[in-house]
Amino acid sequence: MSQLSQLEPNPDAYARSLLSHLGVKRIGDIGEFAGLLGLRIKEVDSDDFEGALIRVPQRLKGIIAVKRTISGEGRKRFTICHEIGHFVLPGHGTSDCICLDTEVESWRKGMPEQELAANRFAAELLLPYKEVAPLVHKGKASISVAKSLSNEFNSSLTAAGLKCVEVTEEKCAIVYSVNGVIKWFKTNANFHYFIRINERLDPESYAGQLFANSNVVEPFGAVPAEAWLRSDRLRSDARIWEDSILLPNYQSVITILTVHRDIGQEW
């Protein structure tokens, strides 16, 4: 291209274009899909990296190495789609293609920009907005909807939860906590409150209770908003809807927060 050019910055757009170019509505067999791009998948016994892309520049040829011991098929598929992201996205895949477990499927602040872009690409590739939106709009964002999406699209619960929050029109956020501490969160465009990141979970939250006692029967319901949100301007009686689930294999809890009524001033 002799003319100066500016590339589309949104990773989701590349995932959608790839699906449309290949005539695929949603991904079934991930190995077959990768094969359409000339990529072979190899499970390896790596120590540190979760996924890696080894490619031949300018060619549809490469190997995606994925850690054998990743628990959960959904997480493995997400890792593979993340590496496909590095293969497809402009400026990716020429270096730094070894992805650590703290980077795949994470949305914490301070992550390398390319890793975040590959995560966004993977989320859209596995759970295309067009396919997911009708299902979420029917049932709203909840752990139960995320579970059914995760089953239907063979994705991890984290990826499905993220997509639910992104797609819903409610004021919604997803929070990921590890060992009782909030590690990262992602809000949708309608949610304008600060979440208590890097703080210990409030005992009044269901997530906090799940870490203390994994036998909480129904970890969803209205909880004091200040258990999750940081703001001086919250109403004293403000409550927020919490829906949490414990992932014992990861010592983690995924929470979907929804603001149903006025709880005080936003940002």
Partner: protein, 148 residues
Amino acid sequence: MPKSRIIKPIPPKSEQEELYDAVFGPNEEMSEDLADDILATYAVTGQMLVDKFKARLQERIKEIHDQTGEIPAPLEATMRNVRQYERERIPRTVGADEWVSEIFGAALLPSSHASPLFSFRTSSTGEISENDRDILSRLMLELEEADQ
């Protein structure tokens, strides 16, 4: 029978031109990037020069128009060229569809001497182990062999 072209002899370079060649390199080696670098040392950008040139051109066209009631054709043509140059400098947005199509188009290119690549991360997230390096080296070799 083809007509023979008359080739005019290139006039010898003046002393001043030779001095410029020695300082900046010969004209024919001057790329746009190099020109920008040189201008930057004088705190000038190419766009500033273009803007200045355009303003002077417009001023001159107006002067002549005021005096004669006509727009001088050569200056008008120059102005058109400047505008065309500026239009070409506006970044074009390449959409995701076009990008993806180009990836698949690349599969039709000859393989040349492309070799597999990856590099190690040395960011704060840490380096990878010796075992992991071995795994990646083996896969790289496998890919290279498959490509031959």
